[in-house]
């Protein structure tokens, strides 16, 4: 189902280069606002500003290299299930607890596979929850709940 491969072309690489350039810009502007200081008393902004300018130059140079290498083909679908899975885990861990959060995470990861194997996903999440409970909550005494306050 998610076996589609995407060719990674020149345009997205240019966009990423622009993103880096933007970070350089932000760093330069913020650096300016933090105060540059004097030569014998360098302020908190001088280094970020210098780095920002450096990053803008390097990002521009890197963009010139965009598309010079053979394009690769990659599956992008897994990323769109794994990343939200982690975010959902983070949102659920405090309220719903380890069990529910882990089940949600593993289900999201399983959906990324070609054939959704629900039985295996549930089994895996139960095993991981048990291991997590034994190792992290009992073993290391970490403070998170198996079943959260929401229930």
């Amino acid at each position: 189902m998610h076996q589609t491969y995407h060719r990674i072309g020149r345009l997205p690489e240019l966009i990423f280069g622009l993103f880096l350039f933007g970070i350089g810009c932000v760093s330069t502007i913020y650096g300016w606002s933090y105060g540059l200081g004097r030569l014998n008393d360098i302020g908190p902004g001088a280094f970020p500003m210098g780095l920002g300018i450096g990053l803008m130059i390097l990002a521009a140079l890197a963009m010139r290299e965009a598309g010079t290498q053979d394009p690769v083909s990659r599956r992008l679908a897994p990323a769109f299930f794994y990343l939200p899975g982690v975010i959902i885990w983070a949102l659920l861990i405090e309220g719903a607890g380890l069990l529910v959060a882990t089940m949600a995470l593993i289900l999201m990861c399983s959906v990324a596979e070609e054939h959704l194997n629900l039985k295996r996903a549930v089994l895996l999440s139960l095993i991981l929850t048990a291991v997590g409970y034994l190792v992290f909550i009992l073993g290391f005494g970490l403070t998170f709940n198996l079943i959260g306050d929401w229930f």
Binding site: G35, N40, F47, L51, A62, L128, G132, F136, F144
Partner: protein
């Protein structure tokens, strides 16, 4: 016999049962991630850093270093059997290791690789013991300008020496330096780049960042790539693995040369085990009387690079422990881990905490011995690991990352930071930007800035202070060389191609 006394002290620490168990755990985990292509030592080390908070500092470091050098042993297994390096440092081993396997000599290749790895590792450790004290004494004379220059050299060398585009490497290093600025400025107390988030006033969490870049990012990249071939299910018997007398003789001198080259390269700033392995391979090919045999299963071509990458990972501890300046991203992470444990790596470490330093060094020799005993008889088990379906493996790793990042501060924000860096790491690998320079820059950033500002403060704003000592002059000259070499090379390439047209 001061060294013997120091080593005895070290073994008193390294041979306690806790230290041995922890060392065993580290090297087993290291071999595990080494065998698995795509998951590197850094992901495992950052995953285990929160666990070390519950240990004594020296035990924590024994665990983390064990993962690092253990991964070098494991990585050659998948190079030989699958033609896929378990970690980049074993890429050179594929060249002759996999042809050997296809000729039915996989057992011999694995045997030779393990013994040359052990030999290389021990040579690296011996050099570490020999050079630690003199180098630390020398580094005691370093002031702010010297530290600034050496760190700058490490940063520039690491980002330009990595395979791929030097410009992209440098851009990632500068990006890492900017990430290192996040948080409260030590000198002025100003909050920088905190985006109004209270959680960012102490800076970006090291574990969250490393797990995002090297854990989540690598998992996503592996899922995105075409599936790997399946390993052979056939087992190995120890007796069948013994190399012939000719093969053994052929691998002795390459292993010695590889070890020496590897230790030297490993101790240099900016060079890691991958470069050491390739230089050793190229050297063997050049001096060989039968260079045409390389690439078709030459024993020399597996012995030398494996000795070199193991020697280099042990020698990489020399600058980190003795000067306090890491040469590559893994060492930078180790430095960060030490700082979290309240240890200040640097020239004073050996004299002020000798049991810490020598205990760690002694544990390296224990760990290497465990690895030899572990790798050879258990090769069948490691091969089975390659059969774990990725539908189980990757969710498992992601789960461990979630719990690991969250557990550091019981903080959801850190998990979100890891997600952000996971996206960054994934996108970067799509466009072939190297990931490691970010971590190096992030960890060295505050130190570079501090020494830069201190130099100018002491010299009252006089920039010639950076050129006041031979050490800093040499380092800054090498920085220029490292920056100019890729430019000159690409200019020459363009010149020759335009001439050909």
């Amino acid at each position: 016999m001061n060294v013997l006394h120091d080593l005895a002290l070290g073994f008193q620490v390294a041979l306690t049962w806790q230290a041995i168990v922890i060392c065993l755990g580290g090297v087993v985990l290291g071999t595990f991630v080494g065998v698995l292509p795509g998951i590197g030592a850094l992901a495992a080390i950052s995953l285990c850093l929160p666990l070390t908070y519950y240990m004594e500092p020296v035990h924590g470091l024994i665990l983390l270093s064990g993962i690092f050098y253990g991964a070098q042993y494991g990585s050659s297994t998948s190079s030989i059997l699958l033609n896929i390096p378990g970690t980049p440092s074993a890429a050179a081993t594929c060249l002759d290791g996999n042809p050997m396997a296809r000729q039915g000599r996989a057992g011999q290749a694995l045997f030779i690789v393990t013994l040359s790895s052990y030999f290389g590792g021990m040579v690296g450790i011996i050099l570490l013991v020999a050079f630690a004290v003199p180098l630390a004494k020398f580094a005691l004379t370093f002031g702010a300008p010297e530290y600034f220059a050496v760190m700058l050299l490490g940063l520039v060398a690491a980002s330009t020496a990595s395979p791929g585009s030097a410009v992209k490497g440098l851009a990632m290093m500068v990006l890492g330096l900017i990430f290192g600025m996040v948080g409260t400025d030590v000198t002025s107390g100003v909050y920088r780049f905190t985006l109004g988030q209270l959680e960012l006033t102490d800076g970006i969490n090291l574990v969250a960042m490393a797990m995002g870049l090297f854990g989540i990012g690598e998992v996503l990249s592996n899922l995105a790539a075409p599936s790997a071939p399946q390993p052979p299910s056939k087992g190995f018997r120890l007796r069948e693995m013994l190399p012939s007398r000719k093969e053994a003789r052929q691998s002795v001198f390459p292993a010695i040369r590889g070890s020496l080259l590897g230790s030297w390269i490993g101790a240099l700033p900016g060079t890691g085990p991958a470069i050491a392995a390739f230089v050793a391979y190229a050297t063997e090919k050049r001096i060989s009387r039968t260079p045409e045999k390389f690439g078709t299963g030459a024993v020399e071509g597996v012995a030398a690079p494996e000795a070199a990458n193991n020697a280099s990972v042990q020698a990489a501890f020399i600058p980190t422990l003795c000067i306090g300046i890491p040469g590559d991203a893994v060492m930078a992470f180790m430095l960060g881990a030490m700082i979290i444990h309240g240890i200040v790596p640097g020239p004073n470490l050996i004299s002020q905490q000798p049991e810490m330093f020598w205990g760690l060094v002694a544990s390296f020799s224990v760990g290497n011995l465990i690895l030899v005993l572990l790798t050879l008889p258990m090769i069948g088990v490691w091969v089975k690991i390659l059969n774990v379906p990725r539908q189980v493996l990757y969710p498992l790793i992601i789960f461990l990352i979630c719990v690991g990042v969250y557990s550091v501060n019981s903080n959801v924000f850190d998990v979100m930071v890891a997600v952000a860096f996971g996206i960054l790491g994934f996108v970067m690998t799509l466009f072939r930007y190297p990931v490691a320079p970010i971590l190096l820059g992030y960890i060295l950033g505050p130190l570079v800035e501090e020494n830069f500002r201190r130099t100018l403060f002491i010299s009252n704003g006089d920039f010639t202070a950076f050129l006041s000592s031979p050490v800093s002059v040499i380092c800054l000259a090498l920085v220029l060389v490292a920056l100019l070499t890729p430019m000159v090379l690409s200019f020459r390439r363009r010149l020759t191609s335009s001439v050909q047209e």
